[in-house]
């Protein structure tokens, strides 16, 4: 079960947000799960076409994903998935 962890910056919009132990085998499934915990969170991380927002990064086991458009990078049930904000503003 991949562990999904979030940047502290999301606490402003989702107070009390904590890591989620997810069941999903794809990012599509993972985001569907996250929505049940934190309704609306997908729209903060993904745009309406399903791509990762420009200034958001996802790391799988410490490595940044390559496919920002369809989020097809593989992960395993033991993976740690970090959802981070880019430090685009300095």
């Amino acid at each position: 079960m991949p562990n999904v962890k979030f940047t502290y910056a999301l606490k402003r919009f989702f107070p009390g947000i904590k890591g989620v132990s997810a069941e999903g085998k794809s990012f599509r499934e993972i985001f569907a799960e996250l929505e049940t915990h934190y309704p609306g969170i997908s729209s903060y991380i993904l745009d309406e076409q399903g791509s990762l927002r420009k200034h958001v990064n996802i790391f799988i086991d410490g490595k940044m994903i390559h496919d920002r458009k369809t989020l097809s990078d593989p992960f395993t049930p033991g993976s740690d998935i970090y959802i981070m904000q880019a430090l685009s503003g300095g």
Binding site: A9, G40, S43, Y44, D47, Q49, Q85, S88
Partner: protein, 360 residues
């Protein structure tokens, strides 16, 4: 004068309230978050905040209680598969204008966006739908382009109070479009405008009306501060007439406001050309016309006249009765109680100001 000033700024929504003869800050919401438009719906008193989170996308919030509490609403979103152009998915990049749909349609709201989509809500803003007829207008893919922003954007929505299915919109860069059936069909209304930045200055589209507004007392009188001067129409945008000063200062700028009670009176906030976009000769000035743009009067009393770099963005100049107010790019907020004859500073230390509205 309406007693509230609602500001959208680079660092939050800020409200000022006029009480006992003076303005004071009433509310700060979304501290630190860019608010592209702060909008009060005069029909209901609902406040709307269009947010532009750098990381998390554009968001839409509304408040029923003057900013005490806010509720997030799903922001306008492009349907799956829509493209700005081939290979570029359409996503809402910026909420650039908002207007209520009129008294006859109490649940209707309009929002204009970058990259060029107009959205309509018929349920009080609970959901917004893309106005497909405009998005699929045959001129859009080839004839619209960015101006002020990287992609085309709708910054002006002018609803005719006599017939609220009659709406003009302003697009940078495309021009002025008109619908008489609440967005089912559209006509281009660029006749008389010019676009000296185009190879063909008489092109069908590609014009850059920085802002379009209508006179409340006669909605057939429309005004626009354009990239290429100031224009006015007296026939519902069928023909535009250039009314600026060729030798300035009333020529280049972004903002325009029309008096509530006089279709011939308007204010502009001149800036130094599209090359520098600064205050003209380091001095801030507002220009007012009382005769439909035949002549312009400079209004400088109380405004900085040296070492000034302020300009006024397109949604940041507003009037209400005898009152006029504007916010600047360097965070100054000015107020005039006498139609611009004299100016008072309300704050010198605000964030960059994106929008100013008088509200109840």
């Amino acid at each position: 004068m309406k007693p509230t000033l609602l500001l959208g700024t680079r660092k939050g929504l800020i409200a000022y309230r006029f009480k006992n003869g003076k303005w004071s800050a009433e509310n700060l919401s979304f501290e630190g978050v860019p608010v592209s438009i702060a909008y009060a719906d005069e029909r209901t008193g609902t406040w709307w905040a269009c947010l532009d989170h750098g990381h998390w996308g554009v968001k839409l919030h509304r408040s029923p209680d003057r900013g005490e509490t806010w509720e997030e609403i799903a922001a306008p979103a492009y349907p799956e598969g829509e493209e700005v152009k081939d290979g570029m998915p359409a996503t809402t990049r910026y909420l650039w204008s908002m207007a209520h749909g009129g008294k006859k349609y109490p649940s209707r709201l309009w929002i204009g966006t970058d990259p060029g989509g107009l959205f309509i809500s018929e349920d009080g803003g609970n959901s917004f739908q893309l106005v497909e007829s405009l998005w699929h207008h045959p001129t859009r893919r080839e004839g619209w382009f960015g101006g002020g922003r990287d992609l085309p954007g709708i910054h002006s929505i002018v609803v005719d109070p006599r017939d609220e299915n009659h709406v003009h919109i302003g697009i940078s860069c495309a021009g002025v479009f008109e619908t008489t059936d609440a967005g089912k069909t559209w006509s281009i209304r660029n006749k008389g405008m010019n676009a000296n930045f185009l190879p063909d200055p008489n092109a069908e589209t590609g014009y850059d009306p920085h802002i379009v507004v209508a006179a409340r007392t006669n909605p057939d009188v429309l005004w626009q501060q354009n990239h290429c001067g100031i224009f006015r129409s007296v026939d519902g945008a069928k023909n535009w007439i250039e009314i600026d000063q060729s030798e300035g200062p009333a020529y280049f700028g972004f903002a325009i406001a029309v008096a509530d009670d006089n279709a011939n009176q308007a204010w502009v906030a001149p800036a130094h050309s599209d090359v520098t976009r600064t205050a003209i000769k380091g001095a801030l000035c507002i220009c007012r016309t009382d005769d439909g743009g035949k002549t312009w009067k400079e209004q400088r009393k109380g405004l900085p006249q040296e070492n000034c770099f302020d300009i006024v963005y397109r949604h940041s100049l507003a009037s209400s009765g005898d009152a006029v107010a504007f916010g600047t790019t360097t965070g100054n907020l000015f107020y005039s109680p006498d139609r611009g004859e004299s100016w008072q500073v309300l704050n010198n230390y605000l964030p960059m100001v994106y929008s100013v509205q008088f509200a109840d």
